[in-house]
């Protein structure tokens, strides 16, 4: 099985790859202000990985996408999300302890349409990041596992 695609595809991938990453991280970061959030942004980032895998085949696995690292990252993301939910256990599980508290992320927002404040919404941005990390690592992990799994077919 040919694992690499033509030089055109590879070059375009190299150009587009960082842009997709930036867009994905933007979507995660502004999840509480604009359409999007952890899941959507994570999926966008993972699509960059998918593009990478399509263009470079198994070569991409060497160094750049380490399955063990990805798996650990996913677990860390999941644990972080669980931990953030635990923060509010003083009141109730999933209680948003930072919202409206006036601290760094607790800024209030004006009512009605407004330009948005990045450091608002309490624990929401952190949860977005945790879920974003989880989704990007998770989907990348699925892609790598399936690629390796189906490559075994071709060899046998």
């Amino acid at each position: 099985m040919k694992t690499e695609m033509s030089v055109i595809v590879r070059t375009i991938t190299r150009c587009v790859y960082p842009l997709i990453l930036v867009f994905g991280f933007y979507v995660i970061m502004h999840g509480h202000l604009t359409p999007g959030g952890g899941f959507q942004g994570g999926a966008v980032v993972a699509s960059a990985f998918a593009l990478f895998l399509v263009a470079f085949g198994t070569k991409a696995l060497k160094g750049r996408l380490n399955p063990h690292l990805l798996q650990s990252l996913e677990e860390i993301g999941a644990l972080a999300f669980l931990g953030l939910a635990f923060l509010g256990i003083g009141t109730a599980f999933f209680y948003n302890i930072l919202a409206g508290s006036g601290s760094v992320f607790g800024g209030a927002v004006p009512s009605g349409p407004n330009p948005g404040v990045l450091n608002s919404s309490g624990t929401l941005p952190f949860m977005n990041w945790a879920v974003g990390l989880k989704v990007m690592a998770g989907i990348a992990c699925i892609l790598v596992a399936m690629l390796v799994g189906s490559r075994k077919e071709a060899e046998e």
Binding site: P35, F39, V109, N114, G116, G149, S150
Partner: protein, 117 residues
């Protein structure tokens, strides 16, 4: 206002029925996965249509247009959840299909039955 009546619901149900047809009557495992995926899409579409309010805008306040009619946020949240669940399901089904192909060398359900004896 509602010139369309309940047509959007009917359309999403048609998608569900299409998926059911593929799941029940197709013999190829990949096509069955596509069927499951279609049902999921139909149900998601159904959920999203539930939340629409005539002439509403997205319930997001950042640079929002000055209108008071906003669509319902809950169905969107539910759909987001069910899309991710659908993704997980489809991925797992496909990996089972890969395993089956590895064992039998075919994706045809009737041939798999013959091979198993």
């Amino acid at each position: 206002m509602s010139a369309v009546g309940s047509l959007p619901f009917v359309v999403s149900m048609l998608l569900v029925i299409l998926g059911l047809y593929a799941l029940l009557f197709k013999r190829n495992l990949i096509k069955m996965v596509i069927g499951v995926s279609l049902i999921e899409t139909g149900v998601n579409l159904f959920l999203v249509t539930l939340g629409y309010r005539t002439a509403g805008v997205a319930p997001i306040y950042t640079y929002a247009p000055a209108t008071t009619v906003r669509v319902l946020p809950t169905p969107q949240a539910l759909t987001l959840t069910s899309i991710v669940i659908g993704l997980a399901t489809t991925a797992l089904l496909l990996s089972f299909a890969v395993l089956i192909y590895r064992h039998y060398g075919t994706l045809d359900v009737s041939k798999i039955k013959e091979l198993r004896g």
